[in-house]
């Protein structure tokens, strides 16, 4: 799927580069173009947020990068600096915590797959559980936890495996406002400490601006890049003061206008069908 070599020579600072990435799903009665000619380069250590109307191929894009799906045409280049580390880890939309493992076992899953000895696994898991405020629940099973806690496990599981690129598919989508705020703050804290290249899908413009260095706005049917907006807000970021700054409001408006058109277009198309 991905070609690890070559990228460094052409673009020295890029971690991901896609070239006319296209994905067509064959369904009964025709084809659905989920992605069409997606060209984007993501810098090493960049946090890229992706917004767009439902069904615009955001998830498909991430799944291709994660190696869970194959593109129909086009190319993906992903840089691997350290072959010891996994290239990507994905935080899935929805509940993907294994119900048959304890919290600590879930968080350390990536390390178990890599063959890290149990003792080191436990230590690594404990470190991230502490960051996520879940230390007390290390030996609990997921059915004993709330949705917000499970989502933290999802995020921690991806971080613990220490991938070169983090892919997050609406990890906080199902959470209430307070939990979401807390987790955004925690994610910022962890991410700013690690500096990992990250791609983050969200429905919330707020969230995209709080977290991202750039925001990629997508169109639906077919899924294309409509615009890429730079978020010139300095780090480390503090969510509350960030939200009330004038720059934030201007960016919010800009992205909202871009999205509004798309959402309306998508609706009109749905009605036409």
């Amino acid at each position: 799927m991905e070609e690890r070599k070559g990228l460094k020579d052409i673009y020295p600072t890029e971690a991901i580069l896609t070239e006319n990435l296209t994905k067509v799903f064959k369904v009964r009665g025709g084809n659905i173009v989920a992605l069409e000619d997606v060209n984007i380069s993501v810098k090493d250590g960049e946090f890229l947020c992706i917004v767009g109307p439902s069904g615009c191929g955001k998830t498909t894009f991430l799944r291709i990068l994660a190696g869970l799906e194959k593109q129909t045409s086009g190319r993906v280049y992903m840089r691997s600096k350290d072959p010891e580390k996994p290239l990507t880890s994905m935080v899935f939309q929805g509940d993907s915590v294994f119900p048959w493992m304890t919290v600590a076992e879930n968080v350390a899953y990536g390390l178990r797959i890599k063959g890290v000895p149990p003792k080191d696994r436990r230590e690594a898991a404990a470190r991230y559980l502490k960051l996520m405020g879940l230390s007390k629940f290390a030996d609990a099973y997921p059915y004993q936890l709330s949705g917000g806690m499970k989502q933290r496990i999802n995020v921690a599981r991806a971080f613990v495996s220490d991938p070169e690129i983090l892919l997050m598919d609406e990890p906080f989508g199902a959470l209430d406002e307070q939990n979401r705020l807390i987790l955004q703050q925690e994610l910022l804290k962890i991410w700013e400490g690690s500096g990992k290249t990250s791609l983050f899908i969200t429905h919330s413009i707020d969230e995209a601006l709080i977290l991202g260095d750039r925001v990629m706005v997508m169109t639906a049917h077919p899924g294309k890049i409509k615009a890429i907006v730079d978020v010139d807000i300095e780090r480390p970021r503090e969510i509350l003061s960030l939200r009330s700054s004038p720059g934030f409001a201007a960016l919010y408006r800009e992205i909202w206008h871009l999205l509004q058109e798309e959402v309306e277009k998508a609706k009109a198309k749905e009605l036409a069908i």
Binding site: P86, T102, Y109, Y143
Partner: protein, 283 residues
Amino acid sequence: MSMAEEQICKTFERVIVKEEKAKVKGKSWASKGLLLKVLAFLSPSLILVLWEVLAGLGVIDVRLFSSPSKIFSALIPMLYSGELLYHTMVSTRRIVLGFLAGAAPGVILGLSMGLFPPVRASLMPMVAATFPIPKLAVMPLILIIFGLGETSKIFTIAIGVFYLVLINTMAGVLNIDEIYLDVAKNFGASRFQFYTTVALPGALPMIFAGFKLGMGTALLLIVAAELSAAKAGVGWMVWRAYDMFDIEKMFVALITMAFLGYVFSCMLDLIERIVIPWKSGKG
């Protein structure tokens, strides 16, 4: 009373009635747990007493239905002589061996059929075609093939258990949520790691459901298996009592079977709780 007044009265009545209901509900909450326990003990006891009384009065024909006291007095000497224990052990051995002989290949084949589409495609027609055959109908064939000894009885039970465990295990693997497969794939799990960390644990609840169904079938089949060419066992006791028209002994055998079934299901529950600690109490 005018219409409006009547309407008001009615509403008022309804309110009062509702309040009373709420009160009763509130009261019963505290003692509900105890009440349920008492009821669970009381209702079977009541039936036993009723049975005894009606038998004593001659309303129930004791030659056909016996009575609790008669059954009890038949049970005690059988307990003391060790006769009952002997027959129970003989049947238990057949059930346990038959269960293991059916469940082990059932799990292994069920897992491979769930995991590998080619295996499923090649075996499924056979399974689907032979599963509906009543296992009792196969018994004469089993007797001819395996003779009159223990093997034929164990095999009969094994066949009944096998199908239920096989089908449940396969369904368990096929029903694992796709998102878990994606997680394993994304972390780069090897095939073997995938089996041990996702497929097997994910299918365990369904496998145990199959075990429980299989145990029910095993108890059903033991009676049939001990009908012919047996010299001992709880099922044999039933048939022996039938030949001798010994209704009390028959009831003793039936009670023993109920007890056996209860013990086996408790054991499976216990093992399930140890093997699947992650399952919530409700599900």
